[in-house]
């Protein structure tokens, strides 16, 4: 489940702005609350790039001169994000409904 949620959260993040790997990892940890291992995000990024849901380009950071690979969502990625978001919303809604059955009077 975590892998799937990481994919959804990642696409959602990239829908906001282009990011590089470490930045994505930190934001998925801090903002989305996903406990991802240090290198866990890169294989996922690689697969999404191969699926053409993201497009990547190397940029030089103007502050420190280090190269960073930035990922941006593509139109196909946005379609996938919309499908996954709908799927997740339906699932979480059903699950919440199910869990709340025991606390109803």
């Amino acid at each position: 489940m975590l892998k799937g949620l990481a994919e959804l959260a990642l696409l959602s993040l990239l829908d906001e702005e282009a990011c590089y790997g470490l930045e994505i990892l930190e934001r998925l940890r801090s903002d989305a609350g996903l406990q991802l291992a240090e290198g866990a995000v890169y294989p996922l990024l690689h697969r999404l790039e191969k699926a053409r849901w993201t497009a990547a380009e190397w940029r030089i950071d103007p502050e420190n001169g280090r190269p960073r690979k930035y990922y941006a969502i593509t139109d196909a990625g946005r379609e996938e994000l919309a499908a996954q978001r709908t799927s997740w919303t339906q699932l979480s809604s059903r699950l919440t409904h199910f869990l709340e059955r025991s606390v109803r009077p």
Partner: protein, 193 residues
């Protein structure tokens, strides 16, 4: 060994473990991992901390290979790609091992069917589905007088039906198993990993 040398050695092992990927993909992964390590160190972490976060280089490489294989198998939907995907996970997953065993049995059954068809073409008198006193088998009989061959030329369409059913069963098995072994998406029925 200095910290920098240790990082270089780790990155070399990563590149080696990814050696069956196209060179530009492999180099890109190594370059991006190096960039990550440098960023972490620049923000105050030690090389040791960063490398231990990644774990062994071979395990990190394995994650890429798993993702790529899943992507390719699910993308192509070819039986060969799907079967290879299952076979590559059989030593790490009970479900994949059972599926692989079932695929092997189906393949053997298909092989036997093809063999019997071949024998029927080469030796139509002795090959077929034989029923005799206390016995019934499909194959070659030494003495055709000892039993009765009940299929005749119907063996060919029967074999075609069997092969079609084997293909459908294998395809169905792969279509059920592969999505459960591949990285899950939220809301998918098998999304419980």
């Amino acid at each position: 060994m200095t910290d920098q040398a240790e990082v270089e050695r780790w990155l070399s092992r990563l590149g080696w473990a990814l050696n069956h990927l196209p060179p530009h993909e492999r180099d890109d992964i190594v370059r991006e991992t190096r960039s990550h390590i440098e960023d972490r160190v620049a923000s105050g972490a030690s090389f040791q901390q960063v490398l231990s976060g990644f774990g062994p280089a071979e395990r990190h490489a394995r994650r890429f290979v798993d993702e790529i294989e899943a992507c390719e198998a699910l993308g192509s939907q070819r039986v060969g790609d799907l079967a290879r995907f299952v076979a590559n996970r059989a030593h790490r997953s009970v479900g994949a091992a059972i599926a692989l065993l079932a695929l092997i049995l189906l393949t053997i059954l298909a092989g036997i069917t093809v063999l019997v068809v071949g024998l029927k073409i080469v030796d139509p008198v002795h090959a077929g589905l034989w029923i005799g006193p206390g016995t019934a088998f499909i194959g070659v009989i030494d003495d055709p007088q000892a039993g009765r061959e009940i299929l005749g030329l119907w063996l060919f369409p029967a074999a075609a039906v069997v092969l079609t059913l084997i293909f459908i069963a294998g395809r169905l098995l792969l279509s059920l198993v592969v999505p459960r072994l591949a990285p899950q998406r939220p809301g998918s029925p098998a999304g419980t990993t």
